[in-house]
Symmetry: C2
């Protein structure tokens, strides 16, 4: 199963693509779409940036032929203006996947950090480090690229652990939170990964 | 000049298209894209609704060949969740226009109401009534359709009055607000339209 994770933003949109073959993860590609001048203010109109996201992701999808697109589920933003901007970029990202018949999957930021790092409070650097442990040493253009990969890895973890249903049953039986159950399963499936103190 | 106004929403997206020939407005079409079950909860996933917006607007654009797309500029929303939903629909609307090389133009809700009704506090019913005075009696499927037409009419008004630059100079000279200046210009250009008490 080839999985594309995308971290949408109106200035930087990161993506990462992996293959899940049996229980093995392997890296396909990762990168960042730079949509505005990185120095100083964004002078490129939002509509042009949205078109760049669409064209950029279309190129990635046609080249690497993923079957699933994973996008972060977002519930909050600094304010309405940033929520609207993020929403517009996210809408175009999701559309890019749908236009090419990709299955769209969403996970919350906490689920992604749980699945990749083992706890829901990891910062971007910790996520990037853990992603590299899983797919090999990388030079990420931005944290958006490593976050994109983390989304793809999260879905792979969920898929290979037979989540979500399995975890829900497990959590219920053991009276664990979903987060704890995901973390426990992740560690059981990756004995090489040290148990994080917070799990 | 053929102008398409679009009022984006994740459940209902309205559109209206007009021709501006010299100083004359004429109706081309209007309608509503229904993206979810209107009865009860929306059971259609958001990604499918975004694809429907893209396909629906693409069909309208290819059929009627507008040159300009007008979309409301939004600054606020009830909460982050609704801002994100609206943002996603809006992003796909704008992209639909950009993909077909339409010029994208934005006006604030106040500017639209000013240009169409004459004051910035009009409700949707007043806007729909005024739109009908300008393009003839219509049966609108939803207020989203009449709001779409209002956006297109707003741009036509702005274009034929030589706005925005002219209004800015006018407002500065007369020490009027932009809203007052737009209203004053609109009434000067449409002597048949009664001056609203709030302008």
């Amino acid at each position: 199963m080839r999985i594309l994770g995308v971290d949408p933003g109106s200035r930087l949109t990161g993506y990462g693509c992996i293959d899940l073959m049996g229980r093995q993860l392997s890296l396909v590609t990762h990168g960042t779409l730079r949509l505005s001048n990185t120095s100083g203010k964004a002078v490129i109109p939002l509509e042009d940036r949205l078109l760049s996201i669409f064209h950029g992701l279309t190129e990635v999808i046609l080249k690497f032929q993923p079957k699933v697109m994973v996008v972060e589920r977002v519930f909050f933003a600094k304010n309405a203006v940033s929520a609207l901007k993020l929403g517009q970029a996210r809408g175009v990202v999701v559309l890019s996947g749908k236009v090419h018949s990709l299955q769209i999957v969403e996970y919350s930021p906490t689920q992604v950090k749980q699945a990749v790092v083992g706890h829901g409070h990891a910062d971007k650097e910790q996520v990037a480090k853990m992603v590299q442990l899983l797919v090999g040493q990388q030079k990420f253009s931005t944290y958006d690229a490593s976050d994109g990969l983390a989304l793809a890895i999260c879905h792979a973890q969920m898929a290979r652990l037979g989540i979500m249903q399995g975890v829900q049953v497990h959590a219920k039986r053991k009276r664990m939170s979903m987060a704890e159950a995901v973390g426990a399963n992740r560690i059981a499936a990756n004995p090489g990964i040290k148990k994080d103190r917070s799990t």
